[in-house]
């Protein structure tokens, strides 16, 4: 009877040792999560969409492994730990990529803004030079109002840049440039109209 008791205690001890030695890798999980959050905070949703998706997929796969092991009697979290460590390392690498991409987007937006401003100023200068005769006055006044509208849109480009919406700013700037060029062409046509009459 005594032996049986001893054996039972020993058996329980062995089971306890096997199960308690393999604890869930909570620290690694937290670290991987934090690394992914850092990518998101750095603008990963905008500048590293694909990479962020992969990170989340890999993290989910690692968590699947953690969950699968947690249901086993003899838990082995070695593989899950490796997976989580890789997620963390990958996330850190992705985070490093973002500033350069953000800078590139910013530069693109700024250069599009400059081009839009230049096109706007060109149209404005042309309009100022245009002969304000009876035949062109109406056209010129209409184009002046159009340019005032473009000026309001140019202000929105700056607002988008200030809010770090570089892609939005670029799209708007390119559209303004197109419209400003179209107005410049109209001014030229109005000038030609007057020249033709002389």
């Amino acid at each position: 009877m005594k032996n049986l008791m001893k054996l039972s205690v020993l058996g329980l001890l062995v089971v306890f040792l096997f199960t308690s030695c393999a604890k869930q890798p909570t620290q690694q999980i937290d670290e991987a999560k934090a690394a992914i959050s850092a990518v998101e905070a750095a603008g990963g949703n905008i500048y590293a969409k694909e990479e962020l998706k992969k990170l989340n997929d890999d993290f989910n796969a690692a968590m699947d492994e953690v969950n699968a092991q947690s249901k086993k009697l003899f838990k082995k979290y070695g593989q899950a730990k490796e997976m989580l460590a890789k997620v963390k390392a990958d996330a850190e690498a992705v985070k490093e990529l973002i500033p350069a991409r953000k800078e590139e987007a910013k530069n693109n937006a700024l250069s599009a803004q400059e081009e839009a401003k230049a096109a706007f100023e060109e149209a404005k200068a042309l309009l100022e030079k245009a002969p304000k005769g009876k035949g062109t006055k109406a056209d010129i006044e209409a184009m002046k109002a159009d340019l005032a509208g473009l000026e309001a849109q140019l202000a929105e480009v700056q607002a988008a840049i200030d809010q770090e919406d570089y892609f939005g700013a670029k799209e708007k700037a390119v559209s303004i440039k197109e419209k400003a060029n179209a107005i410049a062409e109209q001014v030229k046509a109005a000038i030609e109209k007057v020249k033709g009459r002389k």
């Binding site: 209409a142 005032a148 849109q153 799209e171 559209s175």
Partner: protein
């Protein structure tokens, strides 16, 4: 000898056993469906499945996760005991589901793009109506500022549609709609008299009275219809010649005071023929008449205009070109003015009205706009 033969047989048997064990220990390659499904999931995500078919995409991912789990369990087995038949079946099912999902995403994307394009086209139709109308009015107003901004946004929307950024395109469309509504309000305020049936009827009565008088007296009459940009000479109550005219920035408004660039409305007469003016030949009319003075004094009493404001004068029908802008006068092309100058003597009645047409183009502009809105 016998021993040698037995030895050889044993050696051969051992060799075969080793080959057998070796072969059975070899890990069979993962079925190609596994990689295919994983790539498919990436493609679906890139195509926007999580946005266009979130429920279906989630279910698909769940099934993919189950298939992967099944595959991982199979991989835990010793090579010889692995059976990828079921793995392949499971992944094939996932791939089939993914293909259906891909079609669903494409369909929903096409639908979304179609809805946005149709909304955009509807708004663009409104934009075009207002754009050409605002040019026709040749008024100094803010409507064109709104319209120019709307035009910039239409260009942005086209780009967003090309990039399949439908949410952003929808947001921009709302902003465009707001700009068009503002432009419409400005335009309406400037021309609402032309949509008022009572006002149009009053103008019509004024014109008909003058034409009848011309018929009764056999005299000449100049009838100016501002909205239609038309000047017609009547003789014996019959139209004999019509000319196209130009007005000022605020030509469609009724003149109230000096500097408002509006063209007066009412009954006038030619009081002087000016052979050489800044704008070629000219016919001076008797603005302000009694009615104008009355209106002006009332406006002053009500504080609509200041004490310093003057009523103005020197309103002419002159040359210089119909596509110019006047400060309240009626302008004709020089050749037309030469002809008019020859035909019209001093004392000829001049009636200036907004329009005599109840279904005039302003009414139709805003009706068309309503139609575009309802589509």
């Amino acid at each position: 000898m016998k021993l040698k033969a037995v030895g050889s047989a044993l050696a051969l048997l051992s060799l075969y056993s080793l080959i057998f064990i070796g072969q059975s220990c070899q890990t069979p390659p993962a079925p190609p469906e596994v990689q295919e499904a994983l790539s498919q999931e990436q493609d679906l995500w890139r195509a926007g499945a999580s946005f266009f078919a979130p429920k279906e995409y989630e279910a698909y991912r769940q099934h993919l996760a189950e298939a992967r789990k099944f595959f991982q369990q199979e991989e835990l087995k010793i090579g010889y005991f692995r059976n990828y038949v079921k793995v392949r079946q499971k992944f094939r099912q996932v791939i089939d589901e993914g293909n259906s999902l891909k079609n669903l995403v494409e369909t929903r994307k096409t639908q979304a793009a179609g809805e946005i394009r149709s909304l955009k086209n509807r708004l663009y139709e409104r934009y075009q109506i207002f754009n050409s109308f605002s040019l026709e009015l040749t008024m100094r107003n803010f409507s064109r500022q709104h319209l120019a901004q709307a035009d910039v946004m239409f260009k942005e929307i086209d780009r967003l549609l090309a990039q399949e950024k439908y949410d952003l395109a929808r947001e921009k469309l709302k902003a465009v709609e707001n700009l068009l509504n503002q432009a419409e309000n400005i335009l309406r305020r400037q021309v609402e008299r032309y949509m008022d049936p009572d006002q149009v009827a009053a103008w019509k009565r004024l014109a008909e009275k003058a034409v009848k008088k011309s018929e009764e007296t056999g005299s000449l009459l100049i009838l100016v219809s501002k909205l239609e940009r038309r000047l017609t000479i009547y003789k014996n109550g019959k139209p004999v010649k019509t000319y196209e005219i130009g007005l000022g920035f605020n030509g469609l408004a009724d003149k109230l005071h000096a500097g408002d660039d509006a063209t007066p409305e009412g009954e006038y007469k030619v009081i002087k023929k000016v052979a050489t003016s800044k704008y070629g030949k000219a016919l001076l009319i008797n603005y302000p008449n009694e009615e104008d003075l009355k209106k002006f004094n009332e406006a002053r009493k009500k504080g609509i205009i200041t004490e310093r404001t003057k009523i103005g004068g020197l309103i002419e029908i002159h040359g210089g070109g119909k596509d110019g802008l006047t400060q309240g006068c009626v302008a004709l092309d020089n050749s037309d003015m030469e002809e008019l100058f020859r035909k019209i003597p001093v004392g000829t009645p001049v009636v200036i009205v907004g329009t005599t047409n109840l279904n005039n183009k302003i009414v139709s502009v805003f009706q068309d706009d309503k139609k575009a809105e309802k589509k």
